[in-house]
């Protein structure tokens, strides 16, 4: 016996399988962790440029220049100026820069003046400062040998940027004709309108100050090292500047406590507007100088405008104004609305992917002349559901395209009525508590959709439409007519379009509101003049059965409102009834990655179906072919075992070399000590184990696992196997049912009689004793009276009378031309049961033949005598005795060689030697013991 822990054998197969598994795992991890290939070199440099209206104010810009591998004077490449968002630095743009550099562009990123790393002040993209700086950078690019230039020395250069950087792209394109293509994202058209919007079409002097965003904007500029809110303003930068070591604050610029790094004029303007909520013409003029609106008519560079729908800072209307202004020059313009923005962040993955694709397509076409431009002028996405696998439930979107940019008026429109009596609403003193629509920079799209909007009771009036009869895909700016009365003659109101779901309540698409400042109001609502309000631009679907709701409220946390308390009366339309004008657009769905997945699924299903069919066909074919192979010579021999060898995977040889035959009418005993290889041989015989070498033929059929010829064989190997929860009879019936043969062939009664279980056959097998199970198993093996019966240790657990009965049964069984193979480790049993015997030891056959031959008397006898030396002398004198060997203290083994035992005894007695015992030795025992060598340890323990 071996003791101790089971040891694992490292066979070649196991090691190979383990290595394969490890390799696969390793490959997977490597694939996941492998850095993206780096096909560029990045060089940091501090560039000195002359800034200011007169070009005499030196400024140092912190830059990084990314040059793709292989770009040089002989193979120049187009260049991209990549501008960062407000509060960001060149490091915010690193990921985008790498992306573009890998796409084959020379990319220059820089930190705009006034921000961390560069000197100078923030002039809000002033043409005299930031734009002039950027022109100097174009000069610098023009001097680079690796940058592609036309014969006149004009470099091929595109400008890409988001928010602050987007406005710079537009302004630079307006001021520098050398710019060849621009991709401005989530940026403004007119800063004065962005910060002082008014939805009835009044100029910014009458606008409602967007105080919360302005505050965030200003503070992120006055403290350039801050993260947090500035991140929202940094635009499309992937925000990985958090991973980079921060540049220490440069000591070159002195910051003041009120203005930070802002230029004095900008700062003063901000402070004035923020304090009063109103802007003077001079303030507006300053803001307009920093706005693309001033240069749109000069932009000749093809423009890809990407604007966010979840953007209360620079809403879709800003991109629309840019698009119309630039397209008026005949310049190619493409507009994309994605589901994100200053409020919504980068949006779903599909939207960021589309933005990246559009950007590269645009640049490739206009800078390299490679590929086509998008065949539509307008693309947009709309939220159509939620991502369910991630924990934060991001929305998922579907993308659509429209051939011509429809503007904000839609390609069609419809009208939905809202009605309601005029209502009185209260403007609280100081403007608090205030309704909430968005939180600047929350950057969480899902919270915007599930609705953070909050109305204060008593401060708003709602006007509902009847349920919609059909689904409406609204794209653009809805309009509504309202009227108001105020005792002060003036009112600031916020008009919102809610989507009211009958089951889950109202939601405000992207939290967008239309601020309105009404002046010259009557105190009596009956005399009020209706005004038309242009609601925020949206791309939204309103489901059938929902209602639309116009809400007019007096406060909003994002805006400056009159501090004086007042009660306004508000109503809709002329006669308490107004139509909401809804611009409609039906876009063509854009095939996305998802379409690809769907094809993949279809392909997978088809492959599986075909694969399954092929496997089934091949299996059937193979089985059909296997049935044909019969060796005629042995067609009538129940069993032929030839050269059988079984070696296990771990190298252990259970059966070394076994040959024997079982003929009809024979009961063959397979005799050997435990572990001699008997059971392994029987396993091969049952098709449970594949032999390493040699073969087993049953009625001439070569035996393979599941060979049909096994149906002519009944077996009990290694103990019974029954379903414990069923009775004996149920087990036999179910077993026979599994064979698929007719019940009549089973001979169930005969089998039961042999089992001799009586009424116990109705009890559950679980309750049986070992012997009862054994008998049931023998009965199961005999079901259908198979031509070859194979029984492994059949008498195990049986009583002596039952054993005797079993012997009789087996001998009778073989009589009708059937054959029985019985394995046993008991000599007596084989001797009494079998006609033939095969003796196995250590996996080999040591003797075989008829039992009568082997068991019959042998010429050898064992004597026990009183005087061994004397007996030896006597025996030696007998001529007929062939050999004499001592066996123990008083024993002698004598080969009599034909001399009768009586003669030998009389000779011994005659010589005065006392004989205690004479025992004839039989051949089988002889063979067994001499061959086994007295060492009957199992071969498994060799």
């Amino acid at each position: 016996m071996r003791f101790g822990l089971p040891s694992i054998r490292f066979t070649r197969r196991r090691v190979a399988a383990g290595l394969a598994l490890l390799t696969g795992l390793g490959a997977l991890i490597t694939w996941a962790a492998w850095p993206a290939p780096k096909n560029y070199t990045a060089r940091d440099a501090l560039l000195n440029v002359m800034s200011g209206p007169a070009g005499n104010e030196p400024v140092t810009l912190d830059t990084t220049f990314f040059v793709p591998d292989g770009a040089d004077a002989d193979n120049p490449v187009p260049a991209i100026l990549l501008a960062h968002g407000f509060g960001g630095t060149k490091r915010s743009m690193r990921a985008d820069a790498e992306d573009l550099a890998n796409a084959g562009y020379a990319v220059l990123t820089w930190t705009a003046q006034g921000f961390s790393g560069s000197t100078g002040k923030i002039h809000l993209n002033s043409p005299d400062y930031e734009v002039r700086d950027a022109r100097s950078l174009v000069d610098w690019l023009a001097a680079r040998p690796e940058v592609l230039k036309d014969p006149t020395g004009d470099p091929k250069v595109g400008v890409v940027g988001g928010s602050y950087g987007g406005a710079l792209a537009l302004l630079l394109a307006g001021h520098d004709p050398r710019v060849d293509a621009i991709v401005p994202m989530i940026t403004w058209n007119d800063l004065s309108k962005a910060f002082l919007p008014e939805a009835t079409g009044q100029p910014p002097t009458a606008g409602v100050f967007k105080k919360q965003w302005a505050g965030v904007f200003f503070s992120s500029g006055s403290n350039t090292a801050s993260g947090g809110l500035a991140g929202a303003l940094a635009g499309i930068g992937r925000g990985d500047d958090e991973d980079q070591p921060r540049m220490p604050e440069t000591g070159t610029t002195s910051t003041s406590p009120d203005c930070g790094n802002f230029a004095r004029d900008i700062c003063d303007t901000y402070l004035r507007i923020a304090a009063t909520g109103k802007a003077t013409e001079a303030d507006l003029a300053l803001l307009r100088r920093s706005s693309p609106t001033s240069v749109l008519d000069r932009i000749k560079a093809p423009t890809m405008l990407i604007q966010g729908q979840a953007d209360s800072l620079f809403p879709l209307t800003e991109a629309d104004a840019n698009a119309r202004g630039i397209a008026a020059n005949g310049t190619p313009v493409h507009v994309d609305w994605f589901t994100g923005g200053h409020d919504g962040g980068a949006g779903p993955q599909a939207d960021s992917d589309r933005g990246r694709y559009l950007t590269l397509t645009w640049l490739d076409h206009y800078l390299r002349g490679k590929g086509d431009v998008p065949d539509s002028q307008f693309t947009y996405s709309r939220i159509t559901g939620f991502n369910t696998s991630s924990s934060n439930r991001r929305p998922t979107t579907s993308a659509f395209s429209v051939e011509r940019y429809p503007g904000l008026g839609g390609t069609g429109n419809t009208a939905v009525d809202v009605a309601g009596k005029p209502q009185q609403i209260f403007n609280p003193p100081g403007g608090t508590p205030a309704a909430m629509s968005t939180i600047p920079g929350a950057s969480s799209l899902s919270s915007l959709i599930s609705g953070i909007s909050l109305e204060i009771p008593g401060q708003h009036a709602d006007f509902l439409s009847p349920p919609l009869t059909g689904t409406l895909d609204v794209l653009g700016t809805p309009t509504v007519t309202i009227r108001a009365a105020s005792p002060t003659g003036e009112a600031v109101l916020f008009v919102k379009l809610y989507d009211v779901d009958p089951s889950s309540g109202a939601s405000l698409p992207f939290g967008l509101v239309a601020p309105v400042r009404l002046t010259g109001l009557q105190a009596d609502i009956a005399k009020a003049t209706p005004v038309t309000v242009t609601l925020p631009a949206i791309a939204a679907r309103f489901e059938a059965g929902h209602r639309l709701m116009i809400t007019i409220s007096t406060t909003d946390q994002g805006f400056a409102t009159p501090a004086e308390p007042a009660v306004y009366t508000v109503g809709v339309g002329v006669d308490d009834r107004s139509t909401i004008g809804l611009p409609l657009v039906t876009g063509t769905p854009i095939a996305t990655q998802e379409t690809l997945w769907r094809w993949l699924l279809a392909g997978l299903v088809a492959t599986l179906a075909v694969g399954l069919a092929v496997v089934l066909f091949v299996a059937r074919r193979r089985r059909h072919n296997a049935e044909i192979k019969v060796i005629d010579e042995y067609a009538d021999t129940p069993l032929v075992v030839r050269g059988l060898r079984k070696e296990y995977a771990d190298g252990f040889v259970a059966v070394a070399q076994v040959d024997f035959t079982v003929e009809r009418g024979q009961v063959v005993g397979l005799l050997g000590p435990n572990g001699a290889g008997k059971t392994t041989s029987l396993r091969v015989l049952m098709g449970l184990t594949r032999p390493t070498k040699g073969e087993v033929l049953v009625f001439g059929h070569r035996l393979t696992p599941g060979a049909p010829v096994l149906s002519r064989l009944g077996a009990l190997v290694e103990g019974p196997g029954f379903l414990p929860h069923l009775s004996g009879i149920e087990n036999l019936r179910l077993y026979w049912r599994s064979t698929g043969r007719p019940d009549a062939e089973a001979h169930l009664d005969e089998a039961l009689e042999i089992a001799g279980l009586g009424d116990a056959v109705q009890r559950k097998v679980r309750t049986y004793s070992h012997g009862m199970r054994q008998r049931l198993a023998i009965a199961q093996a005999m079901l259908g009276l198979p031509e070859l019966l194979v029984l492994d240790e059949p008498t195990d657990g049986l009583d002596p009378p039952q054993i005797a009965e079993m012997r009789k049964v087996l001998r009778e069984y073989a009589r009708d031309g059937r054959a029985v193979l019985v394995s046993s480790h008991l000599l007596a049993e084989v001797e009494q049961t079998c006609t033939h015997v095969v003796v196995m030891h250590k996996g080999e056959i040591v003797a075989s033949g008829e039992v009568a031959d082997i068991v019959g008397d042998s010429p050898v006898a064992q004597f026990e005598v009183s005087d061994v030396p004397a007996a030896e002398q006597v025996l030696a004198s007998l001529a007929a005795v062939r050999s004499v060997n001592r066996d123990g203290r008083s024993g002698l083994v004598v080969d009599l060689n034909g001399t009768s035992r009586a003669d030998v005894v009389s000779a011994l007695v005659g010589a005065g030697v006392g004989v205690d015992r004479v025992v004839p030795r039989r051949r089988l025992e002889d063979a067994f013991l001499s061959l086994v060598g007295g060492n009957t340890r199992a071969s498994g323990e060799r």
Partner: protein, 274 residues
């Protein structure tokens, strides 16, 4: 003459107490949940935001919502265990009893034996899921009425449409359960211990759920068998959100086919030593 038919195996498995137990529990569970709602009265527990919270609070809105709720509470563990039981136990228990070698010596070709076992395990698993949802639907409708399917994700769905969506969700969940089924089936072929096969499959499923919580794994999580487990919520949207359903189905089919194939490959070649 066909040995070992699906009918025989169905009968063999039907005779087993654990099969009857599992199926009975599929009927009892919805009734227990229903009883809990009845006894509990108006609990004002905060179930948190999100789709699940809303499905819990809407559970008593009608028969459809109730079935959806029962599906929700049972899919992540109960159904996993039941499916693992039907698939993990089927071959390993035969090996454990010793009856496997007698089936093979009948002879039932190994491919056929495994094929029949797989078909029967799949049938019982499908039947268990249908029994669960069917009971919930009947009991829920009798108690709460036949009302439209409600959710906070999207619009209310008319009862007929809702029933179709529910069936869709059941179908998708069944496909996702193929992964645990194939894993249990493979383990069942590899081991003689039925508990090992069932437990192993369940433990790996739990491990996958835990790994899925670790966002640092990034895109690798998409390969986890449980990553798309909740994509059936897409059936509640209007229109149906198919993106993740498609990906989840691809992952489930690819993974389960591979595991089933390994199981067949192993079983048709290995030496039966039990």
């Amino acid at each position: 003459m066909n040995t070992f038919t699906v009918g025989t195996e169905l009968r063999r498995q039907a005779s087993r107490p654990r099969t009857r137990f599992a199926l009975a529990f599929m009927v009892i569970l919805p009734l227990i949940v229903l009883g809990a709602f009845e006894l509990g009265g108006d609990g004002d527990d905060d179930n948190g935001p999100g789709a699940f919270g809303s499905l819990v609070s809407l559970a008593t809105a009608g028969g459809l919502n109730f079935s959806l709720f029962v599906l929700l509470v049972s899919m992540s563990f109960l159904l996993v265990v039941v499916v693992a039981l039907f698939h993990g136990d089927t071959v390993a228990s035969e090996a454990n009893w010793g009856s496997l070698r007698y089936l093979l010596a009948i002879p039932v070709p190994r491919g056929r034996l495994l094929g029949v076992k797989l078909i029967v395990a799949l049938l019982y698993s499908g039947f268990a899921i249908l029994l669960l949802v069917g009971t919930a639907l009947v009991a829920g409708t009798l108690r709460y009425g036949w009302h439209p399917l409600r959710s906070t994700i999207a619009d209310e769905l008319s009862a007929g449409e809702g029933l179709l969506r529910l069936m869709g969700a059941v179908g998708y969940i069944s496909i996702m359960l193929l992964i645990v089924a194939s894993l249990a089936f493979l383990l069942s072929v590899l081991t003689d211990a039925p508990l090992g096969a069932v437990g192993g499959a369940v433990v790996l499923q739990i491990l996958s759920s835990i790994l899925d919580q670790i966002t640092a794994l990034g895109a690798l999580r998409n390969l986890l068998p449980t990553h798309y487990a909740n994509a059936w919520l897409g059936f509640l949207g209007t229109p149906v959100q198919t993106d993740e359903l498609v990906r989840g189905t691809i992952v489930a089919l690819a993974m389960s086919t591979t595991l089933f194939a390994i199981a067949f490959y192993r079983f048709t070649r290995k030496d039966i030593t039990s």
